[in-house]
């Protein structure tokens, strides 16, 4: 104890660092080692980008699916004659369509019957090269029932019934090399020349018709000697009664042997595909999480090295009055800045990837805001965790050791 204690000894202000200055010290390392900072942020960026993109793509594709289901309706049912031993002859009873149409909530029915004929580009093509194209005799309201559309030309109508005209499904048209119905090309169908009056767009709810050449039921009877017993009936019902109609369709179509009738709901297939996509989404999310983890380890690694390299800076800061906490805050802050750059960059990148892919597929871009916020939040959490250990090491370093060279 000295008798001459100066007045300054009476009180000692605290060592203080403003929050803004914590931020300023947090970017010292990044400013002096830009490339390293960029590379370590890149790891996080890739992880976040892949997660955002996966979520964005699955959301965009789901919204596209919902829009399609909305447009196509989930009230379409398909009645098909079973084929095979114990499952039926492949034909429905002649009166089936009429019976089905009389079910209360049924709004529309259309029929299709497989015709035992093949279609060729011309009469010189060998009989074996049918191209896997089936010929179906269909009712003229098929297109309306399935909510399909015509790519070129017109669909079959009542007027066409008396003439040998055909409409091609999208795949069938492609296989025959016909894309444009306006020149009225001829095809060789069941030993007759048929005029192509229309080419259809894809049927989303009945892909088998894409590979078919469609003629009207009466034309089939007249030119192809087909008795016109339908093998498939498409049914549109009141959306409120789909389940009830589904339950009685088999028995109505074929009261004698209802077990020989297959009743399906085509929109289920789309939904099943979406469920499969969801499983894939979970898988990719897992992969994204792994990438994120690796990115976090990368940041921790870089920070540990940085702490070792910057011993003298740490020593200097302790000498000019930094507390252990200030040193720790600086390094945690640095890890946070790195991961924030990675997180924001990742969200932008992931959004961009989603936008590009969605545009290619013709979807609307839909990245859930939770995915974007969550991406940045996840990056920040990773940053704190990754920065904590190096920061504690830096803070624990004795100033005298840090200043020794």
């Amino acid at each position: 104890m000295t008798a001459t204690t100066p007045p300054a000894a009476a009180r000692l202000g605290a060592s203080r660092l403003h929050l803004a200055d914590v931020g300023r010290t947090s970017v010292v390392g990044l400013r002096t080692r830009k490339l390293r900072a960029a590379l370590s942020a890149l790891g996080i960026m890739i992880g976040i980008a892949s997660m955002v993109a996966v979520l964005g793509l699955s959301e965009s594709s789901r919204s596209d699916l919902l829009a399609r289901l909305d447009r196509l309706g989930t009230n379409l049912l398909r009645v098909e004659a079973g084929m095979g031993i114990g499952r039926g002859s492949g034909a429905l009873p002649e009166e089936a369509a009429g019976m089905v149409a009389r079910i209360g909530p049924v709004e529309m029915t259309a029929t299709a019957a497989r015709v035992g004929a093949n279609v060729y580009r011309n009469d010189l093509v060998p009989a074996g090269e049918s191209g896997g194209i089936s010929v179906q005799a269909v009712s003229t309201n098929l297109l309306a029932t399935l909510q399909g559309s015509v790519a070129s030309g017109v669909f079959l109508d009542e007027a066409a019934a008396d003439y040998p005209v055909v409409v091609l499904g999208s795949v069938a048209a492609q296989r025959l090399g016909i894309t444009d119905a306006s020149t009225a090309p001829l095809v060789w169908l069941g030993g007759e020349w048929f005029t192509v009056v229309g080419v259809l767009d894809q049927f989303e709810l009945s892909p088998d018709l894409d590979r078919a050449a469609l003629v009207s039921t009466s034309a089939a009877e007249r030119f192809l000697d087909d008795e016109g017993v339908p093998s498939t009936i498409f049914v549109r019902t009141d959306p409120a009664y789909v389940d009830q109609v589904l339950a009685v369709l088999a028995a109505t179509a074929n009261p004698q042997t209802p077990e020989e009738v297959e009743v399906t709901r085509p929109s289920d297939a789309l939904e099943a595909r979406d469920a499969a996509d969801e499983a894939l989404t979970a898988l990719f999310l897992g992969l994204g999480a792994v990438a994120l983890l690796v990115g976090g380890v990368g940041i921790a690694n870089v920070m540990v090295i940085s702490v070792l390299e910057r011993r003298s800076e740490i020593g200097l800061r302790r000498a000019i009055g930094a507390t252990r906490r200030h040193v720790a805050a600086q390094f945690v802050g640095e890890a946070l800045v790195l991961s924030l750059i990675g997180g924001v960059g990742g969200v932008v990148l992931g959004w961009g990837a989603t936008a590009v892919w969605a545009r290619v597929r013709g979807w609307s871009v839909l990245v859930p805001p939770e995915a974007m916020l969550g991406g940045v939040a996840a990056a920040l959490v990773i940053g704190v965790v990754a920065g904590l250990y190096p920061a504690v090491r830096a803070a624990r370093m004795a100033p005298t050791d840090a200043l020794r060279n």
């Binding site: 000295t2 203080r16 800076e313 200097l316 302790r318 000019i320 009055g321 507390t323 100033p399």
Partner: protein, 232 residues
């Protein structure tokens, strides 16, 4: 003479060491500082000189409160180091002690002005104040024209001047310079010693730790250290 750099009144003890021992663990333990007592008053310019391994660096660390003695009393600016927590010691360094190192320890990507302003970083002074005082401190060391130059673009002598300005910017009661001319050629070295003399005339209390007798002899007071003890 009234001081406008050191805030301790003339004649008061700025540093007081009494029976200070610093031992590093080992077998046998190394006694780097062995029963050292001295006092440095406000306004003094003191050289602490000794060959390498004499314990003068340990003395610098003890005087700078970067380390605590094993036994004995260290008082800086009236505060007994033993009774202060690590946070309080940090505050003591932030407000009352300025350091100058042989390797300068400037942040290479930052300007001279920002480096000097960092001397006030942990005092909680707002940025505008720090910059204004840093500009004044740079002016005092004769580097006003270099304030916006990046540290890595400066010569060795200029860098040491920046480091001195950083040590002075908070107007500490004590400036500790550890081999301040160790990395400089003789001309730069001379000008740094002249600068320290000038700053001392303006009121700063400065202790220069050096192994160079020639430099030590130029200063008003010399404390010689050998084998951890103060030689007569």
């Amino acid at each position: 003479m009234t001081s406008h750099l050191g805030s301790a009144p003339e004649g008061h003890a700025v540093v007081r060491l009494e029976g200070v021992v610093k031992e590093y663990p080992g077998t046998p333990p190394v006694r780097a500082v062995d029963d050292v007592s001295f006092t440095i008053g406000a306004g003094e310019l003191t050289a602490i000189v000794g060959p390498s391994g004499s314990g003068k660096s340990t003395l610098l660390h003890l005087m700078g409160t970067l380390d605590r003695p094993t036994t004995g009393t260290v008082e800086v600016a009236g505060h007994a180091v033993a009774r202060l927590s690590d946070r309080q010691l940090s505050a003591l360094r932030a407000r009352h002690i300025g350091f100058v190192f042989q390797q300068f320890f400037l942040l290479s990507g930052y300007t001279a002005l920002d480096n000097v302003a960092d001397g006030l970083l942990y005092t909680g002074a707002p940025l505008r104040t720090r910059r204004a005082r840093a500009a004044a401190a740079l002016d005092r060391v004769g580097l006003a024209h270099r304030r916006d130059h990046v540290a890595s673009k400066l010569s060795g002598g200029e860098r040491q001047r920046v480091a001195i300005a950083r040590a002075l910017v908070g107007e500490p009661q004590l400036v500790l310079a550890d081999e301040p001319t160790g990395n400089l050629d003789s001309r730069a070295s001379d000008s740094i010693i002249e600068l320290l003399e000038q700053l001392n005339r303006d009121g700063a209390t400065i202790a220069v730790i050096t192994h160079d007798r020639e430099i030590a002899e130029r200063l008003p007071r010399v404390i010689t250290v050998r084998d951890g003890q103060v030689a007569a």
